[in-house]
């Protein structure tokens, strides 16, 4: 690599950023620019993957200034897996958006041309922020990237332009700003205490009350951003009322940024202690149960899917907490697997739910079976995604749950096993509500014309949902990638 040619880490952040600017300036060409930028970013990530496989962890000082003063990017296996997954989801959702925003008008919403024009800059800005979070190696950079994500996410949430979406988007924005503020305060305290912001510097920092307070602030801020129960209040409405491709990005990617930062903080710092881990597990349990119950009561399909995100995020916190005394060194793999599994499956599921809504004309669960048109492929995608989210074998979700329960059992923490079981049963119950509706088309009076429900637009959700199930068979290689550069140290 020459000095003129930027490294793939920088490219993974800059390519989507330039794409976002170009797409904003040239709205007519936005879809082409957007897809091109996503593909180019994926290519940069592929090159990066090659390097990480060879070298383990890669550090790149920006502008020639290394840590602790300058900004430094870092890529290891965990970052690589997240980058690859994010590019994949952006590509899938982008292709889905091409179909979703085709046509001219939408009843009660913004004209399609406007959605088409604004979706791509926001999507690429989100990709910039996500990739930035994955590659950042210092607290301030993480904070900035988190803000970039929030900006894009709020824009995506209100893209549909309906009153409900705007109202939910406003709540989302307040929650997001508050979370960011707490994060910034925490970052500031850390700087005052230690005089440096790079993650490696945290490891050697002496324990103090002020530092604990700083971490506490950051933790609460991140919990708010990841919608950890009981700070989830903004999520269901925001995710359910956005247009389907936006919902897919919000649910699959945005909430994962906070979790990823949490993982990185835990990797670097002395924190979190056992008490905090247990608290995360308890709150996660609350999310699993409350999210499950609310999903059971939801009347609309997209709201059900959104509540299932609350429950699934709770499960990931349980996965973080499951190992007890061993701390995160043991349990992060289960959490990472669940993060990957949820991202792929939920992207596919929201796209599928959007397709079903478009084809049938509504998404009221009680009337899903009363349509003259049958969106068969979208239903298939929804079912496949549900298999992974429930955690049935051989899906990636199953592998994640297996790792979670295995570790909990080995540590003797049977209560976390019980929580996982309860969450699984709840998810079966609420997804069955939708799936039974798909199977029941006997109450239709009009003759059934099942083929009108098929379109090329069904391909992205089917592929994403299929991957969510099929990637379970590739769990071995995925774990091998996660362990590149040994984040969290070697396998115990």
């Amino acid at each position: 690599m020459t000095d003129v040619m930027p490294d793939p880490l920088t490219l993974a952040i800059l390519l989507p950023l330039f794409g976002a600017i170009a797409a904003f300036l040239l709205p007519r060409a936005a879809p082409a620019i957007g897809l091109g930028a996503v593909v180019a970013t994926a290519a940069a990530i592929a090159v990066l993957g090659h390097l990480v496989v060879q070298a383990g962890t890669i550090f790149v000082p920006l502008g020639g200034w290394g840590a602790p003063l300058g900004i430094e990017l870092r890529a290891d296996g965990l970052a690589l897996a997240m980058l690859g997954l994010t590019a994949l989801i952006a590509l899938g959702v982008g292709l889905g958006a091409l179909a979703a925003f085709a046509g001219e008008t939408e009843v009660g919403g913004q004209p399609m041309a406007r959605q088409r024009a604004f979706f791509w800059p926001l999507c690429l800005l989100l990709l910039t922020g996500m990739n930035g979070v994955y590659l950042s190696n210092d607290l301030f950079n993480l904070y900035v990237m988190l803000e970039v994500i929030s900006l894009a996410a709020v824009g995506l949430a209100v893209l549909g332009g309906t009153v409900a979406a705007l109202r939910a988007g406003l709540a989302y924005m307040y929650a997001s700003l508050l979370g960011a503020l707490m994060m910034l305060l925490g970052v500031g305290f850390v700087y005052l205490q230690t005089g440096r912001l790079d993650l490696a510097g945290l490891a050697g920092a002496p324990d103090s009350a002020a530092l604990s307070a700083a971490f506490g602030l950051m933790l609460v801020g991140l919990a708010l951003k990841t919608a950890l129960f009981p700070l989830h209040f903004w999520l269901p409405e925001a995710h359910a009322n956005a247009t389907a491709p936006a919902s897919a990005l919000l649910s699959a990617l945005v909430v994962k940024a906070g979790l990823y930062i949490l993982l990185r903080l835990a990797e670097a710092g002395p924190f979190p202690g056992e008490a905090i881990l247990t608290l995360m597990g308890v709150l996660g349990t609350g999310a699993v149960l409350w999210g499950g119950v609310q999903a059971l009561r939801a009347e609309r399909l997209k709201l059900l899917v959104a509540w299932s995100t609350v429950a699934q995020m709770g499960l990931i916190f349980v996965a973080l907490a499951r190992a007890g005394l061993e701390g995160l060194s043991d349990s992060w793999r289960a959490a990472a697997l669940l993060i990957l599994a949820h991202a792929v499956a939920k992207a596919g599921m929201f796209l599928a739910a959007g397709r079903i809504k478009d084809v049938i004309g509504h998404d009221r669960i009680s009337e899903l079976d009363r349509s003259a048109v049958r969106p068969a492929l979208a239903q298939l995608a929804f079912a496949l995604a549900a298999i992974s989210l429930i955690g049935l074998p051989p899906s990636l979700g199953f592998i994640g749950k297996w790792s979670l329960m295995e570790g909990a059992m080995m540590a003797g923490n049977w209560h976390w096993v019980a929580v996982t079981m309860a969450g699984t049963l709840l998810s079966v119950a609420y997804f069955t509500r939708a799936l039974t509706g798909f199977l029941r088309f006997d109450r239709v009076r009009a003759p059934l014309d099942e083929h009108r429900g098929w379109a090329l637009a069904d391909a992205p959700p089917v592929v994403l949902a299929g991957l969510a199930v099929g990637l379970g068979l590739a769990a071995g290689p995925i774990l091998a990638v996660l362990d590149l550069g040994t984040p969290f140290g070697a396998i115990p």
Partner: protein, 498 residues
């Protein structure tokens, strides 16, 4: 002949690969669907014969795909697997033919045959699973694939049955997941090994081993319909006749029974299980189930519900034979796995024909149906007599070995149990035969117009399987009979203990 190490995977893929194609076929492409169904089913039978031939000549099939460190998806073709695969392949072909006739011009055929195919793929996977982890995967797939079949009619009763079925089987599936995890944690492997993998664990922590045994058997007992976990089976009878036939003969109930065989013989090992003192309670549960199922069957007027309770009772013969822990009883148990399947599928298809052809769904409506549908009722009668245990039919052979096994195990009361059960079998089946052959049809039934002409697609399959019932009973000692095959398996499981 060329060697095909992937043969087990190919056999699995025949029906697994056919499922999405069948689901995607347009509703009106009936001929294409029928052709594809029959072709795949026939190819599968041929492949299974090939596999059995190769395996009998010493070829070892062993396919592994590592999923997590130390944890593989593992397909193999040991004799026990071959037995179950052969049963499912043959009966699938027969049931497919029957289903084509049964669903002629009915709604949702694409969906039906798609999930039907998936269901059989799951059964094949269960049979060839080389460890409990792989078994679990296909066990869950079976639950998912059968649910749409159970609620196929879409009526309120069907949906209710589906919900109950799903609750039972998914809770059972979760228990199996927990058991698999616990086995993995305790023994460090989930492999099926003749003689078991739990010896060390049992020596160190007998209480944990006992708890694991109870958990696994309870998880599998849901599908095997062990009392008190049998509640879903009679309710699931709202499913179409071919689904009931498949559920009772090879798919769901047998998956549970087959799992119990694997767990007792190849996770714990029969001697260890005896040493842990867990076989005694299992014998008791099986005995209670045998008697309870028969007693409940007596009181049912609905033919299919009566058959369902009969299944509850008959499938527990398998559990009984396994738990008796002797080689002779084991032969009876394994032979009954096949025999019960062939007998029960005959009866369900015949019952389906009665309902379709004459509208007869209740025992009280059966007067004179023998004259109206002689072929179907002959098949039904033959299977019923075999089920009662009349020599020389298939059911007699299994009961004979179970009784011998009981004596060999020093449990002479098993003979009384089997006699009592046979009497009860007779008490709930003979009245049907009596009504069908020796009573005249009621006037209104005789004058009622035929509801539907029973085509050869519907009439032939029960007669063919009735022929199997006769042949595997009469020729039980011939080479390649199911009984001979089970002797071979048992020799292996008991390390030449015969």
């Amino acid at each position: 002949m060329i060697d095909m190490p992937l043969l087990p995977l190919i056999i699995l893929m025949t029906s697994l690969g056919a499922a999405p194609v069948l689901l995607a076929l347009p509703e009106r492409s009936a001929r294409l669907r029928t052709g594809l169904n029959l072709a795949v089913a026939a190819v599968k039978v041929a492949l299974v014969i090939w596999l059995a031939w190769k395996a009998a000549h010493g070829v070892v099939y062993d396919l592994r795909l590592s999923v997590l460190p130390g944890l593989d998806l593992h397909l193999q073709a040991d004799p026990l697997a071959l037995m179950f695969v052969a049963l499912s392949a043959v009966l699938w072909l027969v049931t497919t033919i029957y289903s084509v006739g049964y669903l002629e011009r009915g709604p949702h055929r694409a969906r039906f045959f798609g999930f039907f195919s998936l269901c059989v793929a799951a059964t094949v996977g269960i049979a060839m699973a080389g460890n409990l982890f792989t078994f679990l995967l296909f066990y869950e797939l079976l639950t998912l694939a059968t649910y749409p079949l159970v609620i196929h009619r879409g009526t309120a009763a069907a949906l209710r049955a589906g919900r109950i079925y799903l609750i039972y089987t998914l809770v059972g599936g979760l228990a199996l997941l927990l058991g698999t995890l616990a086995l993995w944690g305790l023994a460090g492997t989930t492999d099926f090994v003749p003689g078991g993998v739990m010896a060390e664990v049992a020596a160190e922590r007998p209480a944990a081993a006992q708890a694991l045994f109870v958990l696994l058997i309870a998880a599998l007992g849901v599908k095997a319909a062990l009392v008190p976990l049998h509640g879903w089976l009679p309710i699931a009878m709202v499913a179409p006749a071919p689904v009931s036939a498949l559920l009772h003969a090879v798919a769901v109930v047998k998956a549970g029974a087959f799992g119990i065989i694997r767990v007792v013989y190849e996770v714990f090992g029969i001697e260890l299980a005896q040493g842990l003192g867990v076989t005694g309670p299992l014998i008791a549960v099986a005995a209670v189930t045998i008697i309870y199922g028969s007693l409940r069957a007596l009181a049912q007027d609905d033919i299919k519900v009566r058959l369902a309770y009969s299944t509850v009772s008959q499938v527990s013969y398998i559990t009984l034979g396994v738990a008796l822990a002797g080689p002779v009883a084991a032969i009876g148990a394994l032979a009954h796995l096949i025999h019960q399947g062939v007998m029960k599928i005959t009866m369900f298809m015949a019952a389906g024909n009665l309902a379709e052809g004459l509208g007869v769904k209740k025992v009280s409506q059966m007067d004179g149906v023998g004259r109206a549908m002689p072929g179907t009722m002959a098949a039904f009668s033959l299977a019923a007599l075999a089920m009662i245990g009349l020599p020389p039919f298939a059911g007699f052979v299994s009961k004979w070995y179970l009784a011998q096994g009981g004596i060999a195990a020093g449990q002479d009361w098993v003979i009384a149990l089997l006699l009592g059960s046979s009497l009860l079998n007779a008490a709930y089946f003979l009245p049907l035969l009596h009504r069908a052959w020796f009573r005249d049809a009621t006037p209104e039934a005789a004058n009622a117009p035929a509801r539907r002409k029973i085509s050869l697609w519907l009439a032939a399959p029960p007669m063919v399987t009735a022929g199997f019932v006769l042949v595997i009973g009469v020729l039980a000692n011939a080479p390649f009979s199911p009984l001979e095959w089970t002797r071979f398996i048992v020799t292996r499981e008991f390390n030449g203990g015969l």
